[in-house]
Amino acid sequence: MKAIVSVFAKDSKGITAYVTTLLAENEINILDISQTLMQEYFAMIMLVDLADCKLPFDALSQQLKDKGMERGLDIHVQRQDIFEAMHRI
């Protein structure tokens, strides 16, 4: 299953490293990544493949949320289908 991981936070050093490490620990492959700065806010969007992920979706979502909060990051994981449904005919 493919999913979109989105990360929002005030910009600081090491956000990408921190999040990608979390993903790697769960055997999640990053297929694509993009990041932008909106004023002083950092937004990172990753397309990931959950095929080898060790955790069930709910647990992964919760873990990313909790681990994100520890560093002041707002991390969401959502199935890719919702974006495709909304923006592609």
């Binding site: 919702i82 974006f83 923006h87």
Partner: protein, 451 residues
């Protein structure tokens, strides 16, 4: 970003959900209960309870799982059942309150927040069972928490059953005398639809399959946000913007509907394309009308603005879903819309203007608090006016009035949660008692003869 989706689109979706209150308003499971009929009320109740608990066992759990995986809130998980006047017709008992209590118990057991279908279809006349059900409504709604009731009193094909209109005025009055909250769960319809997923008017019609999933989408906040970006543009641009936004909202509803249908093993029925407001700031239909350029919702121009909105939502949504149905249009419940409440409180929005607005949107006089001493014949006459609009214009109309016990114009009544709170609105003076007392049927209009 490759893989077809770019990051601005992803950010737009996330922003719609996080900041513009985008959600799926309801996933409603329709359940046929006609096979639960029995002469013995206890047996009937047991069958009803068992059937609902078996079919809807996983409804809430599945809804929550979809919500988490897609990151889209599904605000309500609900059940609609066959009109209880049909289910209970074989029972040898006049009092249908036990069935209402059974529905309430089953709804609580499976964890849904409303169950609709304590209903009767009496647009041409009453069956014995319709009368028994209607007379049970005041107790049924005040002795249960989650049961919703509706009665269809008119249709374009049959005309208006004025006996039912008179009776429903009395029933609304009696319900309010016990507890005004009961009236928030009671809808009087003209041209009721069989696949409406929204409460309080949902029931599972006789033409529906055994079990079905209907989904109601929402998103006034998203439409409002999109329209803010086209200030001063002509209406062509406004209509196009609403259409594009409605398309996106509906695609999401369709996705959730298909996913729920697949996981539950229940066929998908329809997506209801309605803009349903909530009391939250920024989730208001009135606000959309004001963004179109009206100083306050309810002023001159409001009906035209609502007509455009209602039509554009349908045009945008219809291509996004494989099956569209239900009520499909903008809702204008006063208590559930912060902008409507504010418009009433400053005197801009009157019941007459609301009535005019119901000619061009999907429902009717919805969640309107009226003085606690409003006479039953006045309530009946209001129902008759709405039913006439529905009958003549070939559309669904409804009345959900709340006579606010012990309160008068200027007071406010609180319902809590999604039902919000409503300022008590003034009504016209002059008694319609003699008009309502005539009874009989108002004949169907000429254009009902289409064959």
């Amino acid at each position: 970003m490759s893989y077809l989706i770019n990051s601005s689109e992803i950010l737009q979706t996330i922003e719609m959900i996080d900041q513009q209150h985008l959600d799926v308003r309801t996933v409603t499971m329709g359940i046929n209960l006609l096979d639960c009929a029995d002469r013995d009320m206890d047996v009937c109740c047991r069958r009803v309870y068992d059937k609902i608990c078996t079919l809807a066992d996983k409804l809430v759990e599945t809804g929550c799982a979809i919500e988490r995986e897609f990151g889209i809130p599904i605000v309500n998980k609900r059940i609609s059942v066959s009109p209880i006047s049909l289910v209970a017709a074989a029972c040898e008992q006049d009092d249908y309150v036990p069935l209402a209590k059974t529905l309430d118990k089953a709804a609580k057991a499976v964890g849904v927040n409303f169950i609709g279908g304590f209903s009767a279809l009496a647009h041409k006349g009453f069956t014995k069972s319709d009368l028994r059900l209607i007379n049970s409504i005041p107790r049924a709604l005040t002795e249960t928490e989650l049961v919703c009731s509706s009665v269809n009193v008119a249709s374009t094909r049959a005309g208006i059953n004025m006996d039912a209109v008179a009776l429903m005025g009395r029933i609304v009055r009696q319900t309010a005398d016990i507890d005004p909250m009961g009236c928030a769960k009671l809808v009087v319809f003209a041209n009721a639809v069989e696949d409406n997923p929204f409460m309080a008017g949902a029931f599972h019609g006789v033409g529906e399959p055994e079990c079905v999933i209907n989904v109601g989408v929402s998103g006034p906040g998203v439409v409002a946000h999109a329209l803010k970006a086209c200030k001063g543009e002509p209406f062509d641009v406004v209509a196009e913007t609403v259409k594009k936004t409605a398309f996106k909202i509906t695609r999401m509803g369709q996705l959730v509907a298909q996913e729920a249908s697949r996981r539950l093993g229940v066929p998908f029925g329809v997506v209801d394309l309605s803009l349903a407001p909530t009391p939250a700031v920024g989730d208001s239909v009135a606000e959309i009308l004001e963004i179109m350029g009206l100083e306050k919702c309810g002023g001159h121009g409001t009906t035209a603005a609502l007509a455009l909105l209602n039509d554009a939502v349908k045009k945008g949504g219809v291509m996004a879903s494989s099956h569209v149905g239900g009520l499909s249009g903008a809702f204008i419940p006063v208590s559930e819309d912060a902008g409507m409440i504010s418009a009433v409180e400053c005197g801009a929005l009157s019941i007459d203007k609301l009535e005019a607005m119901t000619c061009v949107c999907s429902v009717g006089l919805d969640m309107i608090a009226v003085p606690g001493d409003t006479a039953e014949e006045v309530i009946s006459a209001i129902i008759a006016d709405e039913a006439a609009i529905g009958m003549v214009n070939n559309k669904t109309t409804a009345v959900r009035l709340i006579p606010a016990k012990g309160k008068t114009v200027g007071d406010r009544i609180d319902f809590g949660g999604l039902l919000g709170s409503a300022p008590v609105m003034p009504l016209r003076s002059g008694s319609p008692a003699e008009f309502v007392a005539r009874g009989g049927r108002i004949p169907a209009p000429l254009h009902s003869l289409k064959n």
